[in-house]
Symmetry: C2
Subunit: 100 residues, 2 copies
Amino acid sequence: MTYEQAQLDALGDGTRRAILDHLLAGPMPVGKLAADFPISRPAISQHLKILKDANLVTDRVDGTRRVYQINSAGFEFLRDYFDRFWSHALDAFKNKVEEQ
Amino acid sequence: MTYEQAQLDALGDGTRRAILDHLLAGPMPVGKLAADFPISRPAISQHLKILKDANLVTDRVDGTRRVYQINSAGFEFLRDYFDRFWSHALDAFKNKVEEQ
DNA sequence: ACTTACGGTAAGTAATGACTTACGAACAAG
DNA sequence: CTTGTTCGTAAGTCATTACTTACCGTAAGT
């Protein structure tokens, strides 16, 4: 599976998007994050694993805590993918349509 | 639900992304599209409905056929959303991190 | 060492969503 | 008006995935 696919799959869930939203406020340990959601901490952990595998967040150890933060590079990668692939493909598509 | 959310949900499925890929070759009726996939035609129709609701494709009637095509505007909307929202939020996030 | 805090993982359940078959509507052709 | 073609939708099934509870490992404090 390519990176973009994993990233789009990861973003295809409302809870994970909400987690990312929360992380925009700054790096946060799992417990603090989970406190803002109606679901259990392990559920948050599982979402974080998916986001991490998709390269959208990174984590660092801080004592017994594990602090997660947005990975800007991952988002830039996805945006570049959008710019490169889709813009070009869409331009080609537009031309094709206008020819007719 | 906002547009971006519906769009990200729609893109969060590999089959739908593959459908969009195929449509990049040009507008296509449902049957022709379904022939390229291992799943049934109704399944394709259901995916197309989701893509249409997300404003990622449009359809037009052609006799008994229904021709679907990529909706560039929808993709531009999503890309702009990415540019506006995420770039700004990510910049703010970067600054916040660098302050520490 | 013992205890408390924190979080990952395993295993099972529940809910969501992708799929199938069956059907009916709309149009074209004879 | 009948027949064939194309496609959407309804209803039900199956698979996926989001979630819970239970448990274990690790680190910090006493």
